[in-house]
Amino acid sequence: MSFLEYAPAPESRSVVDIAPSYGLFIDGAFVPASSSGGVFKTVNPASEEVLAEVASAGAEDVDLAVAAARRAFGPWSALPGAERAKYLFRIARIIQERSRELAVLESLDNGKPIRESRDVDVPLVAAHFFYYAGWADKLKYAGFGPDPRPLGVAAQVIPWNFPLLMLAWKVAPALAAGNTVVLKPAETTPLSALFFADICQQAELPPGVVNIITGAGETGRALVEHPGVDKVAFTGSTEVGRQIARSVAGTRKRLTLELGGKAANIVFDDAPIDQAVEGIVNGIFFNQGHVCCAGSRLLVQESAYDEVLTALKRRMATLRVGDPLDKNTDVGAINSAAQLARIRELSEVGATEGAERWSPPCELPAQGFWFAPTIFTGVTQAHRIAREEIFGPVLSVLTFRTPDEAIEKANNTPYGLSAGIWSDKGSLILAMADKLRAGVVWANTFNKFDPTSPFGGYKESGYGREGGRHGLEAYLA
């Protein structure tokens, strides 16, 4: 056998023990859904195998969860910050101890490569809890007044692309600030949140401080519209974000939204080309492109176009698509049949509208939901694939001539979550970053996250910030 084809190197599934069915985590215990609820199945998108049956919370269950969070709020918010910090530190350490189990679980339920869940997701989850644990006793000094108060019960609805990481982004600052939480994970990826519930038990977190209710859109709607909720935090599509904004308008509820994006990744002709190509690949193919801040629009300076495209195609040919649990997989499975259909539809539109489609030769597994890494060249601002969020491994390539044109094109989108700049010239990077209307601007890197760094959008990418000192503001009054 040639060395070129690495032998299969699968991570063992035996480190994670998935129960056949899961209830709702309310008031510190797992309970079955009430008669108003039901059950649904969650599948492994790489094989379509059913992983577990999960309870779907109905209106009564939402009531119970919000009531539990309300009861827990008084004592939890009255704890000295240093005491709350102890729980958060404990949770962070348990996450580290169970990191292998959580990584395998996340890859099974989401379809992302184990390399990413092991090296990116789970370490960042632990880092978020460690970071906000440190803030819990320093809230007075965070710049939000001498005696900032928690808001109360936070309703949190998170997406399926980074199930456990989005949970951490929401739960850690909420608890540090003294709020209690009712969290609804996405319908297609409920398992890591349920394992997190187990971690809360293991950490002996007081009952009701964290409640996890599973279900689909209706459950989420019941939760954010519940009158007992003081704060709504949502990460997901712009369309659902709009509905939530409408439903909380005129109520006392505070709202933060982290929505879609169509980020421009801008490559100048003086860029470090090999690293820029890595950044382009990481920008759009990381997590199968299921990233709200993905660099889905590549803007290349025309004078470097041929060089960049040649290098990009060469690099894409080495991407390893396949079994998410194989340690050498770079691109895993698309999270659901519905998402795959959406990616396929928009890709068809791209081809119909005249853009040129290219994928490296790659063999996709017969079972499961798969989409080959794809680029479209000859894309213009008028194409739908340059305007709409595809949320998949599909890159639209556009060109520009001058820095001004790059800024115009980059900002010419209803979104404004992130952007990337590649150049060896520091002054150019700073001048560009000033003018880009995006919440995060990466320079000579892409898709880098850190708990100390605030994250959030301009325009239709939402409002409010998560992460860093800024992330506390959404949970304090």
Partner: protein, 305 residues
């Protein structure tokens, strides 16, 4: 500044820059590849075939060199299926001794030359050093560049020196040691790689092994990108040799992964990639025995030299 010096400078400074954080992250990511079972067995045999088994000590004697030559031919006396290494690498004074053992075996004989390791000698001395080694039977010459001249921007001086040594080599292959640990930046590594290739190097090599920082994955990655781009522009393929500090099978496999995923299988061959190493060989042999027999043999089952 002469016209050619100006052209050389503008060319080298016009090469795309290297982002330090990015190249180190990429090398580290490739370092996490998991190479197991059949792929590992193939990798170990390939790595053995790529070793330039090296002894470069003041204490080298004919006896020591003869012993190492025998090891180069048959690294694992207990297993005839174990391949020979690519070459033996010694000081010029030891070349005739090694040549006697290796003659006709297919194992190459490399000699460091040009006032190795510092390169701080007049050109005439360097050329005489080179001619001596070739006359003694070396078919590969590992030269060092004048880092002082390179760092002070005298690219034409370094270029001319490489051209002169290449001429003195005759038909022997020329490996040009950049001593990347003294170049300070990845930009310099890329420039020095191109400079050496433009001047006629058959191989570019990272290090002498005589300064604190020797071969690293990111440095080798930059050099691999350089040989890839050079071939794309000129049609000529140049080899790469990381040397110094590569001691374990795990390390060696990381380098093979780097080749595999950046320049492809054209370089996965002893003609185009070498490991300059001494202790690496025994670790490769130990892992090879482990894969074939299922258990580890103690260090005493492998020859010292």
């Amino acid at each position: 500044m002469s016209g050619s010096a100006f052209n050389l400078r503008s060319f080298l400074h016009g090469l795309p820059g290297v982002d330090k954080v990015g190249v180190e992250a990429r090398a580290a990511a490739l370092g996490t590849r998991s190479v197991k079972t059949t792929a590992k067995a193939a990798a170990i045999d390939l790595a053995i075939r790529m070793v330039d088994l090296t002894t470069l000590e003041g204490a080298d004697t004919p006896g020591k060199v003869r012993a190492l030559s025998a090891k180069a031919l048959r690294p694992d006396p207990a297993d005839p299926t174990c391949p020979s290494v690519a070459a033996l690498c010694v000081y010029p004074a030891m070349v005739p001794v090694a040549a006697e053992v290796l003659a006709g075996s297919g194992v190459h004989l490399a000699s460091v030359a040009t006032a190795f390791p510092s390169g701080q000698a007049p050109l005439e001395v360097k050329l005489a050093d080179t001619r001596d080694a070739v006359a003694g039977g070396a078919d590969e010459i590992d030269m060092v560049i004048s880092r002082g001249a390179f760092l002070s921007g005298r690219y034409d001086f370094v270029y001319d020196e490489i051209v002169a040594v290449k001429e003195a080599c005759g038909s022997a292959h020329l490996k040009v040691i950049l001593e990347t640990g003294e170049l300070g930046t990845y930009d310099n590594v890329r420039r020095a790689s191109w400079l050496a290739m433009l001047a006629g190097a058959d191989f570019i090599k990272t290090s002498t092994g005589k300064v604190p920082v020797a071969a690293t994955l990111p440095v080798t990655l930059v050099m691999l990108e350089a040989v890839r781009d050079f071939r794309a522009q000129t049609g000529r393929q140049v080899g790469v040799k990381p040397a110094g500090g590569i001691r374990t099978t795990k390390d060696a496999i990381k380098y093979l992964v780097l080749i595999n995923e950046t320049v492809g299988d054209d370089w996965l061959d002893p003609d185009w990639f070498r490991f300059g190493a001494s202790s690496l060989l025994n670790d490769l042999l130990m892992q090879r025995t482990k894969l074939t027999t299922g258990h580890y043999a103690g260090p005493d089952y492998f020859t010292l030299d």
